[in-house]
């Protein structure tokens, strides 16, 4: 096989095609009514970039190499002194390696399928050109992020996907809730972004000042294969500064991947179109945090403290989010909490030292979670509500949708042999193998295990409430209909991935994309016992769901039940949002009052004072500027006198007094 790698330098075309689509649809969308508001153009561009992306992914499978192609954007030469003794470079480029090959597969395939699905789902909405242009820009940014070959470029695209997410959550901007959700998402992830940037600066500081010869920063922060020995060998493995830098990166990842305590924005982000939820808030962008952690762990390395923090955040979030999913009445929000919970699994695996296991779960999750969202979207499209308690019995009218949702739910629950089983099981067993390395890993392992039960319960609660039973509980719902073909086909394709995707790493070529311990999983006797345990837990969850909600049953918690406060706590999302709001309101309001005071009395005072004094100066200046040439000449002469005085008298005196 010759010639696959000739494609690598052209990887930049993957994002560039979507930029082209963004420009064409964004500028000419309103004139493209015949192409579904530019939808077909976006689909065509996404198709082309999918072909290229898949080719690149396949090329990496056959020939797992690191190919970096970049241009130097800005370069300060090494001078040995000054701010940048080793010099400094900013580069823009693409890195095609196994990791980015895997992500390209996920992003381009899911992106293409979601765009196709959008043609049907969004057909009746207003502002289609805006939708398709923004989605194109998002895909461009996401592919750029995946292909970024250095930390700065990564950050640029990271911000760009954040902005796209903001636009798309607020797509229905006439709805106040959508507008406020968009703002919330933007602001909360901003907290993470600031931490990320601080982390970049810290790494920069460490590497630019005391890095290996030449300084890593001098070479543009490139992700170079095997650069983690920089950390271990040259930096002495662990310094407080590097620990803090790693924690900052974790903060950035937590913001983007909605990990505790920055998780609040993701459920509210469901105000966006369901397609956006599927693509951005399930399969791709929210996974970027995990991708960042994986990339950082590979190319920079984390310290032991960082690893524990990552395990703790991931392990806690996975359980914490799953509990909130138990009681939600809104179909999309349940899936959103589930996304947070599953992202927790991925973070957990990265922290345990198995970045590739995390990526494995990212890969399968992208497909089954996108599937769940798209299927939920089909239901919402059909009945016009997101309230689970109004639905019911939709199995009869929406056979295919109910089937693919079932596939997604089984996969999410981790039932053998669906995709989610393999990767989730791998996450659990990899952490199990590491339990000896830190005593504090135990509680998080148990939380992760308990989450398996909760997952089976909450997702089948959704399935039973939506599809089982005889008729919709709310009779006023419009008669449901099966989704059109343009929506069904993407769902079916995703369902196939959600069924068999977990087996891919058992193909040796595909396993090249996930180079690392535990991929593909090896099944020893202990592993088999653990797998049996987790499938048992998931099945237990499903059965519990069936007992409460099966066949159209609706389980009502008795009013006096001791569990009521718990239910309320969960419904109120542990009061996190309320807490943040209160904090924001009192904190921000006080701060705003303070700012107002400062602005009114101090800044305005100074400005007005300045204005008055400068105004006076200016007035005087203008009077000096009389327009009379003789005046000008006399100022010149005065200037000469002052210069001579300075050079001959004042200057030497001052030099003699202060030294030079």
């Amino acid at each position: 096989m010759v010639g696959w790698s000739v494609l690598f330098p052209y990887a930049y075309l993957v994002p560039l095609l979507m930029v082209g689509s963004f420009v064409v649809v964004g500028l000419g969308g309103t004139r493209l009514r015949r192409f579904a508001g530019g939808g077909w153009i976006a689909v065509a561009a996404a198709g082309a970039s999918m072909v290229l992306g898949v080719l690149l992914g396949v090329a990496e499978m056959l020939d797992p190499t690191y190919t970096d192609t970049h241009v130097v954007w800005l370069s300060l030469p090494a001078t040995g002194t000054g701010t940048f003794p080793n010099g400094f470079e900013l580069v823009m480029g693409t890195l095609v390696d196994p990791l980015s090959g895997l992500m390209l597969l996920v992003v381009t395939i899911v992106g293409f399928l979601v765009l196709v699905y959008s043609l049907g789902y969004m057909a009746h909405e207003k502002g289609l050109p805006r939708y398709f242009a923004e989605l194109s820009l998002f895909l461009a940014a996401m592919n750029g992020l995946v292909l970024a070959d250095n930390l700065f470029e990564f950050f640029v695209f990271w911000e760009l996907v954040g902005v796209c997410s903001y636009f798309l959550i607020g797509f229905f901007y006439e709805k106040p809730s959508a507008a406020s959700a968009a703002k919330e998402a933007f602001l909360v992830t901003r907290v993470g972004d600031v931490m990320f940037l601080l982390g970049v600066f810290l790494y920069f500081y460490v590497y630019a000042t005391s890095g290996p010869a030449g300084g890593w920063a001098a070479h543009g922060f490139l992700f170079v294969q095997g650069s983690s020995p920089f950390l271990a060998g040259v930096m002495g493995g662990s310094t407080p500064l590097l620990t803090v830098a790693g924690l900052m990166i974790l903060g950035g990842a937590a913001g983007k991947s909605a990990q505790f305590p920055l998780h609040v924005w993701l459920p509210d982000a469901m105000e966006g179109p369901t397609t956006v939820s599927a693509l951005i808030h399930a399969a791709t962008m929210v996974a970027a945090g995990v991708y960042l952690l994986a990339v950082t762990s590979l190319f920079l390395g984390f310290t032991a403290t960082d690893d524990l923090a990552i395990v703790a955040i991931g392990g806690f979030t996975t359980f914490f989010a799953a509990t909130m999913a138990l009681v939600q009445p809104d179909i999309k929000r349940v899936i959103a909490y589930s996304t947070i919970s599953q992202l927790g699994y991925m973070v957990l695996a990265v922290g345990a030292g198995f970045a590739m296991v995390g990526m494995y779960h990212l890969f399968t999750h992208a497909f089954f979670k996108a599937l769940l969202f798209l299927a939920a979207g089909a239901v919402i499209h059909a009945v016009g509500t997101q309230d689970l308690f109004k639905m019911g019995g939709l199995r009869r009218t929406m056979r295919i949708t109910s089937g693919v949702f079932l596939v997604g739910a089984l996969s999410l629950s981790g039932i053998f042999p669906f995709a989610g089983f393999w990767s989730k099981d791998d996450v659990l067993s990899s952490l199990f193998g590491e339990l000896g390395s830190h005593p504090l890993y135990w509680p998080f392992y148990l939380l992760a295990l308990a989450t398996v039960f909760l997952t089976g319960y909450y997702i089948f609660r959704v399935w039973f409430l939506t599809f089982s039973g005889e008729n919709p509980r709310d009779r006023s719902l419009p008669a449901a209909h099966e989704a059109p073909g343009v929506m069904l086909v993407p769902m079916i394709v995703l369902a196939i991935f959600a069924t068999v995707g977990g087996l891919f790493p058992f193909v040796p070529a595909f396993a090249h994309l996930l180079p690392g311990a535990g991929i593909p999983p090896s099944y020893t006797a202990t592993d088999l016992a653990l797998s049996a345990l987790s499938v048992g837990l998931a099945a237990g969850g499903i059965l519990t769901a069936w007992a409460f909600w099966g066949n159209g049953r609706v389980f009502e918690l008795p009013a006096g039940s001791a569990a009521q406060p718990v239910r309320r706590l969960l419904l109120k999302r542990y009061y996190f949002k309320a807490g943040y709001d209160a904090l924001g309101l009192t904190g921000v309001y006080t701060f705003a009052r303070l700012c107002d005071f400062v602005d009114r009395y101090i800044i305005d005072g100074v400005v007005h004072g300045l204005e008055r004094s400068f105004g006076g100066l200016s007035e005087r200046g203008r009077r000096i500027q009389s327009g009379v040439v003789l005046d000008y000449a006399s100022y010149v002469v005065a200037g000469v006198v002052v210069l001579l005085l300075f050079l001959l008298v004042v200057g030497p005196y001052l030099v003699a007094t202060w030294g030079s």
């Binding site: 701010t83 200016s618 327009g627 100022y635 010149v636 050079l647 200057g651 001052l654 003699a656």
Partner: protein, 519 residues
């Protein structure tokens, strides 16, 4: 006997001179179109530019490399009148760029306006003088070259012969210019009196040994004053505002973007080049002179940037505002002379280059707006950005660049300059602080213009012929020359704001060579 090698070295200058003569001949030939004169001038400028760039080693112009200066950055002899440094060649490129933009834009002046040939001829002559400044190695050579430029500029300002404002401006310019030239020549004569030579290199190396130390220092003082006029340092700046205001706007663009920069190179030659190399800061008379020179220049720089900015703050006329902004920018550039390290020199050169694009571009937009009927006051620009989107965006870019906002070339130039000043340590850091504070101050008045352009609507019924009448993306009513000049400047501002790398490298290596050039 004509030395062909020397002729070859001066090929760009000879091209400009030939262009001038051809223009004057053509002018006698009768009523010819403005475009023709413009084309001749542009051809001469582009030809000269190609040779200069070839000498600088631009790849695709390699076939031309045999024509121009063959030997660059070699120390010159004690009796040499001229010598070629790569920094000088870069400055020649900067001068030609300014002349090119102005010549291109001036094609769009009203075709019935008389004196086109004279205008272009003088433009080429002034450029010729600047080109000679860039290769001077001798005080007299340098001052005469400056005079060529100055005299051509007086006439350029006076070129609208029936406009009393322009004539008044030219007269002021001439009187103050003559005074300053006298100061410069007096300074040179003092130096000659002290050392018996006018070679910059010998003078620099001699200082301040010998019995005539104070005489020589006074000579440098007078020279500094004379050059301070050229580059509009406070308090030698006053002519600039009246002249930029009264002159035809294209000429203002050329004065701010072009001739002033020749003055800066003269400052580099006299006060940075061979001189400071031997004047390492320290004790002894040389160290003392270096110390007091640093202090004096630093003081001039801070006074210039601050006074320029403060007076710009409350200026209500657009051209005068730009003139004050141009004065304050001179203060930033002077930091390169005050600090006088290779990075600072590179930063100052970069700032000078950026300012050519930004200020010439801004003045050209003002010229275009005047052609569209926009009045002279800032408040006449209300709604301009909405009514003329393309011009508005270009003007906005130039203003943002002047303020030093990222993604424009002005950001990088200031960044490089200020960080070089900081790197020099010591009390120089305070110069950088003053520069940054001044930059912040300048954002106020640039921002005010932007606000006027975009957020304020013109009072109903008063919309001027240009601003009010049309609402069009197109460049109509502008003339292709102006459109092209403004467009080129705007594209360069953004392109070099995104990737200044190659240019920066060129400036840095040229500055490093320059500091060792006269050794």
């Amino acid at each position: 006997m004509i030395d062909t090698e020397v002729l070859g070295q001066f090929a760009p200058e000879i091209l400009l001179l030939a262009g001038t003569l051809l223009l004057f001949v053509l002018d006698r030939a009768g009523a010819l179109r403005r475009e023709l004169f413009g084309a001749v001038a542009l051809a001469a400028i582009l030809g000269a530019g190609a040779i200069v760039l070839a000498d600088l080693g631009v790849g695709f112009l390699a076939p031309l490399r045999g024509i121009g200066a063959a030997v660059v950055d070699q120390p010159v002899g004690a009796s040499a009148l001229y010598g070629f440094s790569s920094l000088g060649l870069l400055f020649q490129g900067i001068f030609l760029l300014a002349a090119f933009l102005v010549a291109l834009a001036a094609v769009s002046r009203p075709s019935d306006e008389p004196g086109a040939a004279v205008f272009y001829g003088l433009l080429l002559l002034a450029t010729l003088g600047m080109m000679l400044v860039a290769v001077a190695a001798d005080l007299i050579f340098l001052l005469l070259a400056l005079e060529i430029t100055a005299i051509a500029s007086y006439l350029l300002v006076a070129s609208p012969r029936r406009d009393p404002r322009a004539l008044e401006a030219a007269m002021k310019f001439y009187i103050i210019g003559a005074l300053s030239a006298a100061l410069s020549f007096f300074g040179a004569s003092l130096l000659y009196g002290a050392y018996g030579t006018t070679s910059l290199r010998v003078v620099g190396h001699s200082l301040p040994a010998g019995a005539y130390g104070d005489l020589a220092i006074a000579g440098f003082g007078f020279l500094l004053a004379g050059l301070a006029f050229e580059v509009t340092l406070v308090p030698f700046h006053m002519w600039a505002v009246d002249v930029y205001d009264g002159a035809p706007t294209e000429v203002s663009a050329f004065l701010a973007g072009g001739t002033k920069k020749a003055g800066f190179f003269a400052l580099f030659l006299v006060f940075v080049g061979p001189l400071l190399l031997v004047l390492a800061p320290g004790t002894g008379p040389a160290g003392t002179f270096r110390g007091s020179l640093d202090l004096t220049v630093a003081l001039l720089a801070v006074a210039t940037m601050t006074v320029g900015n403060v007076l710009a703050l409350f200026q209500s006329e657009m051209k005068r505002l730009l003139a004050y902004s141009s004065i304050s920018q001179a203060g930033y550039m002077l930091l390169g002379v005050a600090v006088a390290t290779a990075p600072a020199l590179a930063g100052a050169t970069f700032q000078i280059f950026a300012h050519v694009l930004l200020k010439a571009g801004a003045f050209l937009v003002v010229a275009a707006a005047a052609g569209l009927g926009v009045g002279p006051l800032v408040s006449d620009w209300k709604g301009f950005g909405i009514r003329r989107p393309a011009l508005g965006v270009a003007f906005g870019l130039f203003l943002l660049g002047l303020a030093g906002i990222p993604l424009t070339v002005g950001f990088f130039s200031k960044f490089v300059l200020f960080s070089a000043v900081v790197e020099a340590r010591g009390w120089f850091v305070w110069l950088a602080v003053a520069g940054v504070l001044n930059s912040a101050l300048s954002v106020f008045y640039y921002g005010r213009i932007l606000r006027t352009m975009y957020m304020e609507t013109p009072p109903a019924g008063s919309g001027g012929a240009g601003v009010g009448a049309r609402s069009s993306l197109a460049w109509d009513g502008l003339g292709y020359g102006r459109a092209a000049a403004i467009g080129i400047a705007a594209v360069l501002v953004v392109a070099l704001g995104i990737d200044p790398g190659p240019l920066l490298t060129a400036f840095q290596s040229a500055a490093t060579h320059f500091l060792t050039f006269g050794a």
